[in-house]
């Protein structure tokens, strides 16, 4: 009984702006307005997952920022390579997975780190291991999706890539431009200005303007915040506008807690003052955190699924069909859908194609199995 009363109260609140008479309420009450709540409860049970990639040269503060964002210490016993070891280093992909729970909501967070990026003397195509990794995740999801057993598909696709731009330069460097152009159609890129505590407010503004200009100039498609709905309230719209004008975010991270203004905060202690990571007038860390976790996490996942993954999938299928057409030396591309009025010849053809497809499906299943075995 209590649950039903609760539901009714919820519905009342949802329908609040419209004033209804009691009788009208009874007549028009269907009850599906509780759907968002049901979805909410189911998702809480299921838990969320989010894959975040961090890319940038070493020493940009990536690990510190990740620790600050998620209030964890993922990189406790890290050993820094010395210059000799680094000369022969190639770009690696390292995944850290951590399960975070807050107020009953579970988040499986995966951080994909890219040590070695941009560190060598010759950095030609240093982004290739990264694009290969992202494509691999898409491919695996594609196979899982096309497979027969779709119950427990694991989504390892990269939902967001934080790219750390050094604050030392005058804007984007060639390696920044090339990296973002190689990845902007595969993943949501959010450019950040790293170690922003070495810049004065004026310098930050100039650098941000310059980076925005260059992003436009080079046609780089970074992640765009979705437009506000017109019926949102003014405060929300104002916040949204501020957020958009603030990109790229100038961030500072810290692994240490210091005493500032009588409180213990995450910050960095210098002889000339204390930088507070969560102070909005010091840096944009709070904006980034709110955007990434509190308001736009779901949108990032949606864009990854609806745009980047679909692009990949369409491309993949196109390649597959054109390959099939090539193999059979057909003049026109093969339709996968069956023809409406088959005659004998075309029936034979369809049978042949069906068998071919079945064989391909078997191959895919085999590969899927192999991959699952490998994972175990």
């Amino acid at each position: 009984m209590d649950a039903i009363m609760l539901q009714e109260k919820l519905v009342e609140r949802l329908l609040c702006p419209r004033v209804r008479t009691a009788r009208q309420k009874e007549k028009q009450y269907v009850g599906f307005a509780t759907l968002p709540n049901q979805v909410h409860r189911k998702s809480v049970k299921k838990g969320f997952d989010f894959t975040l990639m961090v890319a940038g040269e070493s020493g940009m503060g990536k690990s510190t920022l990740v620790n600050s964002l998620f209030l964890t210490d993922l990189y406790k016993d890290r050993k820094l390579l010395n210059a000799e070891e680094r000369i022969n280093q190639t770009v690696e992909i390292i995944k850290h997975t951590v399960d975070i729970e807050e107020k009953g909501v579970k988040l499986k967070l995966t951080i994909v780190d890219t040590p070695g990026f941009g560190d060598a003397v010759n950095n030609n195509e240093c982004w290739k291991p990264i694009t290969d990794y992202i494509d691999q995740q898409f491919e695996q999801y594609f196979r899982d999706e096309s497979g027969l057993n779709r119950k427990n598909i694991q989504d390892n696709r990269v939902h967001c890539c934080l790219y750390f731009i050094p604050p030392f330069g005058h804007g984007l460097r060639p390696v920044d431009v090339e990296f973002m152009k190689a990845l902007h159609e595969k993943v949501n890129i959010i450019p950040l200005i790293a170690k922003a505590d070495c810049l004065t407010p004026n310098e930050i503004k100039k650098l941000k303007d310059r980076i925005r200009e260059e992003i436009d100039k080079f046609g780089i498609k970074v992640y765009q915040f979705p437009e506000c709905d017109s019926d949102e309230d003014e405060e929300f719209k104002q916040l949204d506008k501020e957020l958009k004008e603030c990109t790229p975010f100038a961030v500072i991270g810290s692994n240490t807690v210091v005493e500032a203004r009588g409180q213990r905060v995450r910050g960095r202690l210098y002889p000339w003052g204390i930088v507070e990571v969560e102070n909005q007038s010091h840096c944009d860390f709070v904006k980034l955190r709110n955007m990434l976790i509190r308001s736009h996490m779901h949108d990032l996942k949606d864009v990854t699924c609806d745009v980047h993954y679909e692009n990949y999938r369409a491309q993949c299928i196109q390649e597959m069909t054109s390959k099939l057409a090539q193999d059979n030396r057909m003049e026109s591309p093969l339709p996968i859908l069956p023809l409406s009025t088959p005659d004998v010849d075309t029936e034979k053809l369809i049978k042949m194609k069906d068998e071919e497809l079945k064989r391909m499906q078997e191959m895919l299943n085999k590969m899927q199995q192999q991959m699952h075995e490998k994972d175990q």
């Binding site: 210059a83 000799e84 003397v121 005058h170 505590d197 000339w272 507070e276």
Partner: protein, 333 residues
């Protein structure tokens, strides 16, 4: 008949009166003040590390042209040298700043140090030719690079491969002074750890930076230089803006959390770098360049002079008086 040399040391206190030998110091001082000094400093580092700002702050004047933000990153390393004559208390100095835009900015930075090595060797070559002329100029114009400041980005980790490659090659031909640029992003602990790791990396790779241990002339120098060696690379911050702090005008960078005073030794080591480069070791830098780096180059070139110059890719060295004079000049070695 045997002639024997008798050497004895006569101290000033034994003299009957005041001879005035020490006045020679004044004479020297006056002569050099009239002639003026030349100092050539090269700055190397990726764009945006504050090279021009640091040079301007060091010499308290706008000697280095701040790069215009509209300029594109150049595809090759181009050396750009600007000379100014600055004067202080009657002493004139012709300061030449050699900038190296484009270093380390590309995606593929292999051999980006080659134009720099070539430039330095060309200056030695120029001086060598002047020196070997029959009719030499009274004062040979000195365009040799006396000091190369290498800017390391303040990553807080270690030396990068490009840093190692550059300093390995250039440490042999010029005096390198590495500095940590834009050091206001490191806390004091991070700075100490970073410096230790850098010093360790330098030793591990056999890189000799200024002041080199081998060239300490006496124990006093050794102690002084050891103190410097324990502190390199200096963590510097540069600026040309002034702010009010406690009623004084200081050079500094103003941020939301405080003002970083450039000349305050508790904030950064700019003052140490300035003292090293200008107030205490300027002449030493020139001497090391002349007596050691240049002599190394000279010996190498003269012993190679038996080889075909075409092989080395260097322009042929015309001997003014034929081969006999070559033997004469060699006997001078």
């Amino acid at each position: 008949q045997r002639t024997c040399l008798q050497m004895s040391l006569i101290r000033g206190t034994d003299l009957f009166g005041y001879v005035g030998i020490e006045a020679i110091l004044d004479q020297m001082k006056r002569k050099t003040m009239k002639a003026g000094f030349e100092f050539n400093i090269m700055v190397v580092g990726q764009s945006g590390l504050g090279k021009s700002t640091l040079v301007n702050t060091l010499f308290k004047s706008k000697v280095s042209r701040r790069s215009n933000y509209e300029e594109k990153i150049s595809k090759t390393v181009k050396l750009h040298s600007v000379s100014h004559v600055i004067e202080e208390k009657g002493v004139k100095m012709k300061l030449t700043v050699i900038d190296t835009p484009g270093f380390g900015d590309q995606i593929n930075n292999e051999n980006c140090w080659e134009p720099i090595v070539k430039y330095i060797n060309e200056q030695y070559e120029k001086y060598l030719r002047e020196e070997l002329c029959v009719n030499r100029k009274r004062r040979i114009p000195d365009s040799r690079v006396h000091c190369c400041i290498y800017f390391l980005p303040a990553t807080g980790h270690r030396l990068r491969p490009i840093d190692v490659e550059f300093m390995k090659r250039l440490g042999k031909i010029v005096s390198i002074v590495p500095v940590i640029a834009k050091a206001d992003t490191l806390t004091i602990e991070e700075r100490q750890e970073f410096k230790e790791r850098i010093r360790h990396d330098l030793v591990a790779n056999g890189i000799h930076v200024y002041p080199q241990k081998e060239y300490d002339e006496d124990p006093e120098d050794h102690i002084l230089n050891n103190r410097i060696r324990e502190n390199i690379p200096f963590a510097v911050v540069g600026t040309d803006k002034e702010h009010q702090v406690n009623g004084n005008k200081v050079l500094g960078r103003k941020t939301k959390w405080g003002i970083i005073e450039v000349e305050n030794v508790e904030h950064c080591e700019f003052a140490c770098l300035r003292d090293l480069l200008i107030r205490s070791h300027l002449q030493d830098l020139k001497d090391v360049t002349h007596n050691i780096h240049y002599e190394t180059y000279r010996v190498r070139r003269l012993t190679e002079s038996n080889m075909d110059f075409g092989e080395l890719g260097l322009p042929t060295w015309p001997l003014e008086n034929g081969t006999r004079d070559k033997c004469e000049s060699e006997s001078h070695l």
